[in-house]
Symmetry: C2
Subunit: 257 residues, 2 copies
């Protein structure tokens, strides 16, 4: 039987999703360890996509194959007694054998969070980056509009991954401020897929524009300009994979788009 799992993790103390050679602590590693206990055999767990070291996920989706008499609805509790506090399974369901959680993902939504303060704030630093200036949100929104749609985002990616095409489509790119004891600047982006570091580079460029950088660099970058005309990659702690959308509601709860 093939199962899809909805999982949430605090990425702070994970070296990302993917298994590492040297036995570093990874989300995949923890999921496969718990799966082996539950299914009694080594079990491969695949995610909708890898997240980097330090990146969080509110609603990541992963799949595994295994035989068990435990009904799918009871699998989350089974996993959660075996998982650490920073990684939990929120829902599980049986899926068709041909369900491919990587390729069938239609849209992914990430949020990048940042705050302005003169010093790092202990209560915000775990899930947000600190900005050294207060950004102009209206300017950020103008810049965000330039990035929406289908573009070659090659300049918005870090080297180190090989992909067939660097064309991606951004369906929605919102900039908003929320208030909860401190102003938080959030960049929410929904797209059909993202290149390596793409969301962190987009967020960095939008914050830079909000702090006075010319928007012209975005047009240049989209027209074939290099990575170097864009601001630097934002730190991992501010990034959260919010949800993965398969076009149909997989789990029927609020953590899906």
């Amino acid at each position: 039987m093939k199962y899809a799992l909805l999982i949430q993790y605090d990425g702070t103390f994970f070296s990302g999703w993917q298994l590492q050679k040297k036995g570093e602590r990874t989300v995949q590693g923890e999921m496969e360890r718990a799966s082996a206990e539950i299914f009694g055999v080594p079990t491969r767990v695949t995610a909708s996509g890898r997240t980097d070291a330090g990146v969080h996920a509110r609603g990541q989706v992963c799949v595994l194959e295994g035989e068990t008499t435990v009904p799918a609805a009871k699998l989350p509790a089974c996993f959660n007694t075996r998982l650490p506090p920073d990684l939990k399974v929120l829902a599980a369901r049986a899926v068709a054998e041909d369900f491919d959680c990587t390729r069938h993902a239609k849209r992914k939504t990430y949020v990048y969070r940042a705050y302005y303060a003169e010093t790092d704030l202990p209560l915000l630093a775990r899930y947000a980056a600190r900005l050294k200036e207060r950004p102009d949100v209206e300017k950020m929104r103008e810049a965000a509009a330039l990035l929406c749609g289908k573009h070659d985002f090659k300049a918005f990616s870090s080297s180190g991954s090989s992909v067939k095409t660097t064309v991606r489509e951004i369906y929605k790119l919102d900039v908003r401020m929320t208030e909860n004891g401190h102003t938080m600047y959030e960049v929410e982006v929904t797209g059909n897929g993202f290149l390596y570091n793409m969301v962190r580079i987009i967020a960095g460029e939008l914050f830079a524009v909000g702090c006075g950088k010319s928007m012209q660099n975005i047009a240049t970058a989209l027209a074939g300009g290099g990575r170097s005309c864009l601001a630097k990659t934002m730190p991992a702690a501010g990034l959260t994979l919010e949800c993965v959308d398969y076009g149909v509601p997989l789990f029927g709860n609020g953590l899906e788009d």
Copy 2:
């Protein structure tokens, strides 16, 4: 010279504010260690009030006395290079010799945060408690209204502290829902002071009422009923000391009431 400092800390890995005998990690301990380095002599640091193990503070106020050529405006940076990531000084200023940061505190505001989910959520668990049912916020507000004003809150305190009087005044007690990927239930309380565990007991009773418990127990407790008619004390992780108000703006920033 006497200085007041505005500090923020993530209480997760502190055994509370107050120095402990066995050398446990405390906020006061870290502040006094950094102060001794800066002022060159052992320096006592006093807070507006103690916070318990695991309780957070967004805007705690503390004072110390010492002689230094460093101007007050530069003290935060001086401290912050010597403090760990979970404790930072946000502002500092010289105050009058007779300023008493404990007795002169006119109002304190705490927020207790909780969420409903079937399992602990890694991205919320650090700063909020999990509820096993979804509370009715309107009922919680009705119950909150009973607690506002000047009352003997003896039943709303844990044993273990000796105070002259158990009468306190609550100026404001709000219940609200916020939304950021998941619904958060927040109980915000402003009062002239709080008994040991009082905010965590109030929050627990309000959540219990929201989940169906009769409001009658609150009237009974305020009329001299014992601790036992009230719900249990909520866990520390959900509690944050938001700000301390001295009737005058001490630091002139958004973290004061």
